[in-house]
Symmetry: none
Subunit: 210 residues, 4 copies
DNA sequence: CATGAATGAGTCTTCATTCAT
DNA sequence: GATGAATGAAGACTCATTCAT
């Protein structure tokens, strides 16, 4: 994530089964090294070793370290964005409180499926090149939420984009706090309830008076 | 921020005027380099150069790179925590909606006083050594919020700590989104309103029925 | 030789032919730099340069400067200790004067095979980490000598360990003086004779009277 | 002891009482730092600090680090050489066995007066600039011993210089072994006896047959 | 004079990347 | 294609030395 823009694309698409397995191994290995050693010690050699291959092979799949990190971050962000887009799409036209509940569920499912991964990638997202990817993912999500909100039958959102940004931020904040360990024991058992309450209350603020 | 705990203390306190200036210059320079180059390119050489001094001087005040970063992060976190503690203290016993408004004001004031700094330090907070400091700051804040909430005359919080964590996370999430540029133009003009509405709605969820 | 104990082991054994050559080149280069520049100027860069390779390659074989120096010192000390152990073993039960002669021969052969190396390594042996290795080598040698002495048919040594220490020290002292250049021209032609005389006389001091 | 030749002279002679005290403090401090930290970590700052003064003051007395080390080594070597010269002078014309005893006594007294110092200075003597000083001291000592030996009434030394070198080396070897810790517990109680025996036996080897 | 902050060249060490085998 | 040794630029950190106060 050091250089800024170009040449971050993976070198080959995993057309063959072997490639897919290899790329998967690299993905897993990267997350592990990231988690155990931190971004700055997440070196190509270490990743390759953990993935059971040589550095040379890693470079067969990614043109450089940043591309590897970007690919993994992108995959994560895409999967999160996809999940949220799907949920938003599925709840267009539903009452606001169902939207809130669905959104919370989708966010938690996406972010807590692999907490290690989610947490590890924050560092990647922060360092230079990751910012652009994060921005893109964030934008997709906000657009999806805004569209869903705009379709609510029982509320009127003057500025769905802003409300979407606030809503997503309000969910992500506590999730991130938990991922980063800033939370009391047992916090995650109450997390969903509180987020639903939080989001529902916020969205109902926009309820239209008949 | 690579090493874990020890030896992160500054070397000398800036007692003399010249020293104070030097330390201040280092502080500013670090934020600038962090902002413009990113954490991984925030090297001691670059910071010293930006601060208009030699590396040697930097090392006169901080025993290593991590200590420099930690010092700056700590200062920031402390100031944020102090501000929030102060606000929480001042609004004990007030109605929930006043608490909400005061908390939003305090958080925004603290985080947006120097947006560059706030943003730059996220990377530092994520990298190994910064996590511990963040955790400490976060804990102080949550404790302060919880204490304030517990004193509300018009609401009853069964689990003030959890509510505090959620409340703070819900505020920080959108603020961070904006700091990191994931927000539409003009977002910040609406930010405060939305956050007050968000937080008030959430807290009033706990209103006691007489 | 600055750090005290751990992590002084070489990184990979030179299994392949190329590796063996590389390690050999490092060995030779280190001795040369040590001789021509002294311990404090025996830097990894200079050694690598002299060996005709890059610093990186040096670090492929040794984890740090001290490990490189330790490896070379250890090899030298081991070869000296081995030679002396062999000589002592071979002369068990022989008359004291044969022992003396054999010991002198062994010490001189071992220390003067490569005088440059012997001399260069004195500095390494003195600096922190080298002391432990030296102590070990010295101990092995004294044990070997003591065992040989204890087996003498024509003498009785009440305290073979002490006598061994004195004997070895008495040989090493003049050898070192010569290696370090503190000796008149032509000294080495007379060295062996004098050492044999010295050691024989000393050991016969312990001759048992029938 | 890194640079080779020039500018190693102290800057001012300790004419005033204060100077003498200062120089003495530096001397002591240097030995302490040398002993506790090793040559490579024996920095001017540390020495000055230990001596209770600022680096600047140190540089008032010595033009550079090497000069400081050289001065201290030279002082030590001179005092050893002086003591031995005195002993040798005092025993001219005496029987060989008295010479041997006197020489051992002188060497031990000189080298073991301050064992820490003796040991610490070996590193200094080994690193570049120290070699020349050591050579000079060694030469003085050998000359003195040779002159004494040549005056023996009961022996004839064909080559007093060589015998002197061997004799001194044979004493220094075991002493050094002890100083460096390569010796069994209680070794020093037996050291003198053995050295006297060693040297007497060696020298009497040259006894003239009437 | 003493002080000690500032300097910056010089060390050690790591790591992304290449390429001969 | 895979491998992993070699490269060397770049970063962290130290320390001899100077000089303004």
């Amino acid at each position: 994530m050091s250089t800024v823009t170009a040449a971050l694309k993976p070198r080959k698409s995993p057309v063959q089964a072997r490639s897919a397995a290899t790329v998967g191994a690299l993905h897993t290995a990267t997350i592990q090294v990231l988690t155990q050693e931190g971004l700055s010690r997440c070196t190509t050699t270490r990743v390759a070793e953990r993935a059971g291959m040589s550095v040379g092979s890693l470079y067969q799949y990614y043109p450089n370290r940043d591309a590897l990190l970007a690919a993994i971050l992108e995959k994560h962000l895409d999967s999160v964005a996809n999940a949220i887009e799907r949920a938003c799409h599925a709840h267009r036209g539903k009452p606001v409180c169902e939207m809130a509940s669905a959104l919370v569920t989708a966010v938690l499912a996406a972010k807590l499926r692999d907490p290690e991964e989610s947490k590890a990638l924050y560092a990647v997202a922060g360092d230079r090149g990751g910012a652009a990817l994060s921005a893109r993912g964030h934008a997709r999500i906000v657009v999806a939420i805004a569209a869903m909100l705009a379709s609510a039958p029982d509320a009127r959102f003057d500025d769905p984009a802003t409300t979407g940004t606030i809503a997503f931020g309000a969910l992500i904040g506590p999730v991130r706090a938990w991922l980063e360990g800033h939370a009391e024991a047992g916090f995650e058992t109450r997390l969903k309830d509180h987020l639903v309450r939080l989001l529902t209350a916020y969205l109902q603020t926009h309820r239209s008076r008949p």
